[in-house]
């Protein structure tokens, strides 16, 4: 077996990966609690359980590389370097949120970081990724564009059309299908006809299937796909198999899931626990260092929530800015 490129990452890189995954987990657990307590409005879709995918894919990306996300976007935002306090403020609808409180959880974006936005429209992202890849190619920035879609989103015409366009234009694009087994209450095993990798093959793209709880597997596949895109060899697809720990959105009673399913997943399929095991078995990092990160991240998330609760709301003057309204 080929040696994992992820296992060859520097200590600093590995610590950065762990910190990213821990930040996503804590952020989402905290948003879950705050939503339950009634302090967060609107629709919130949590990424807890899926951390290794966002971090594995984005670890090597730079600001000039673009990603397009989904409704379940918090993890992608964090992985692409969005400020967690700015994100939390956005989720609280505050004026100092990343989008001025106008977007909310489903529309967090930070274009300077190459984060083109979470998306309220399933399948809204992949065509945008083709566009971002076209910009990178035309402007010769050396950048790549990565599109995340869910198993549900993988069935949208826009997604399949984007595979075709990306191949036909030979774009520096990577399509990441995050298959968490469900689209809302519908199982992906029922809704997805055929096979994700064969879909890639049908469009002439290389495809790889990975265990999305395993940072190293995701990282390796992403590195290969990103390198290919950067080298001008066109798009590829990664089918990431993973699980979500919470409901489709906060408030979902999840009666469609099997009994004990989530408890089992938390016990057996935890990307953070798996990462710890891998790095300690390989003698790469001592657990005390990871514990330190856990403590630091907890403080950062506490601070983000406290700052968001105390932050000012937008006002009437903000309602009609950022859009052409006079007529």
């Amino acid at each position: 077996m080929q040696l994992s490129r992820g296992m060859q990452l520097s200590r600093e890189e590995l610590l950065r990966a762990y910190r990213g995954m821990r930040t996503i987990r804590d952020f989402e657990e905290r948003v879950h609690d705050e939503f339950a307590a009634g302090t967060i409005p609107g629709f919130v879709h949590l990424y807890a359980g899926e951390e290794a995918s966002a971090i594995g894919v984005c670890l090597d990306l730079e600001d000039k590389d673009r990603i397009a996300s989904t409704h379940r976007g918090h993890g992608h935002c964090i992985a692409k370097g969005c400020d967690v306090t700015g994100m939390m403020m956005e989720i609280y609808g505050r004026r100092d949120g990343l989008c001025g409180g106008k977007g909310g959880s489903m529309h967090i974006a930070d274009l300077a970081k190459g984060m083109m936005g979470a998306n309220g429209i399933v399948g809204g992202g992949p065509p945008l990724v083709c566009g971002a890849a076209l910009s990178a190619k035309t402007l010769k920035t050396g950048g790549v564009a990565v599109g995340f879609v869910g198993d549900g989103g993988s069935n949208q015409g826009t997604t399949l059309e984007s595979y075709n366009l990306a191949r036909v234009w030979n774009l520096p694009a990577v399509f990441v299908v995050e298959d968490n087994g469900y689209a809302e209450s519908t199982a992906s095993g029922w809704a997805v006809a055929g096979d994700q990798l064969k879909r890639a093959e049908a469009f002439g793209m290389p495809g790889r299937r990975v265990d999305g709880h395993d940072f190293f597997e995701v990282y390796d596949a992403a590195k290969e796909a990103i390198d290919r895109a950067r080298a001008g060899d066109g798009p590829s697809l990664i089918h990431v198999c993973l699980n979500r720990y919470y409901g489709h959105f906060e408030g979902d009673a999840m009666t469609y899931r099997g009994e004990g399913e989530v408890d089992r997943l938390r016990a057996e399929r935890d990307s953070l626990a798996l990462f710890r095991k891998r790095v300690s078995e390989a003698g790469l990092i001592e657990s005390g260092q990871l514990d330190d990160i856990d403590r630091e991240v907890a403080l950062i998330i506490d601070g983000a929530v406290a700052a968001s609760k105390a932050a000012p709301a937008p006002t009437l003057a903000d309602l009609t800015t950022d859009v052409y309204v006079s007529y």
């Binding site: 629709f43 909310g104 429209i121 549900g152 469900y182 689209a183 209450s185 519908t186 029922w190 899931r257």
Partner: protein, 336 residues
């Protein structure tokens, strides 16, 4: 007669029509839910529970869950409608219409005319609309003016549970494609709704209040707000007639013009963005046909011309309120 929610009224209408007519089918994302999943069947009954209970009664052959692929399944509903079925398809949020619009306005809306009257397309597309849910820019729009713009489509906007049941049954029996707008903030509204089946005809406005001074035309949830304002202003000696057109296509222009002829003043309340809206459409209708009756300029109370903001503070400022409606009514009545 029992009290029923807006949600239950729509559910009951669909169930009664499915019992009456075996060609009526339901389709949409998670309309039953739990497809292929290890837990409960009928786990969702639609994202806000409107279709719950239909699958257990009518089976998966008549209550079809779909993959997330609106172009294909809304298009399939159009094709099925043209070939013998009466689909009630759910486009979860009207904001998603961009994904499947071609199948609605270029296909469904044009078959009858374009094919020289030889086609019927008895299709209902149910869709959630409106702000107030903190659901942000891509899950909160109104968009009924857009559908009203397309010839060949019928557009229905029920303003209460009673209205919803009668209009839904009418929609299912209608031979043209109907877009049925359900305001997401109204699902738990309750009122007396008859158990038996009944229809409310299209193109016949309902006067929910009658008064001599000002005509208020309002749509969907805005009817409720207009009624509130009419009731409170009655105490102040300002009489309001509230017109609920019920359908924007067809539109009961006659009743609107008659009411304006009587009151000489018009306020239109429309939660949609103002440009090319129902508000501007009705203002134009009245300006063209009842100009001489007008004693004051027409006033429109609408959302601003912006996307719907997420922040609750901004969203509350975005949506027309009773206070804004009242101010407009007082102004045209010369009692500002």
């Amino acid at each position: 007669m029992a009290k029923k929610t807006f949600r239950m009224a729509i559910n009951e209408a669909i169930a009664q029509e499915m019992r009456r007519d075996p060609t009526v089918i339901v389709m949409g994302e998670d309309n039953a839910g739990g497809m292929g999943a290890p837990g409960e069947d009928d786990a969702w009954g639609g994202v806000l529970g409107v279709t719950k209970g239909l699958m257990p009664e009518f089976g998966r052959e008549r209550v079809l869950d779909t993959p997330i692929t609106e172009s294909a399944f809304i298009g399939a509903a159009v094709g099925a409608a043209a070939t013998g079925l009466r689909p009630v398809a759910e486009l979860m949020f009207v904001d998603f219409m961009g994904v499947c619009l071609d199948q609605i306005y270029n296909q469904a809306g044009k078959f009858r005319y374009m094919f020289g009257g030889k086609a019927v397309t008895p299709l209902v597309i149910r869709t959630m609309f409106g702000a107030g849910f903190r659901a942000a820019s891509q899950h909160s729009q109104c968009l009924y003016p857009v559908f009203t713009h397309f010839p060949g489509l019928k557009v229905v906007i029920p303003s209460s549970p009673y209205e919803a049941k009668g209009l839904m049954i009418q929609s299912i029996r209608d031979d043209d494609p109907v877009i049925f707008f359900e305001h997401k903030v109204m699902y738990d509204d309750e009122e007396e709704v008859p158990d038996e089946s009944y229809t409310i005809p299209f193109g016949e406005a309902n006067l929910t209040r009658e008064g001599d001074d000002v005509t208020i035309v309002a749509f969907g949830r805005m009817v409720k707000l207009a009624n509130q304002v009419a009731d409170s202003l009655a105490g102040d000696g300002i009489g309001c007639t509230v017109v609920d057109p019920r359908t924007t296509s067809p539109l009961d222009t006659e009743t609107i013009l008659e009411c304006v002829a009587d009151t000489g003043r018009l306020v239109v309340v429309d939660e949609a963005n103002p440009r090319c809206s129902m508000a501007s459409d009705i203002a134009a209708l009245v300006a063209e046909n009842a100009f001489d009756a007008l004693k004051a300029p027409i006033r429109m109370v609408t959302a601003p011309h912006t996307p719907v903001p997420f922040s609750p503070d901004l969203e509350d400022l975005y949506i027309p309120t009773p206070e804004k409606i009242e101010a407009a009514v007082r102004e045209v009545a010369g009692r500002g």
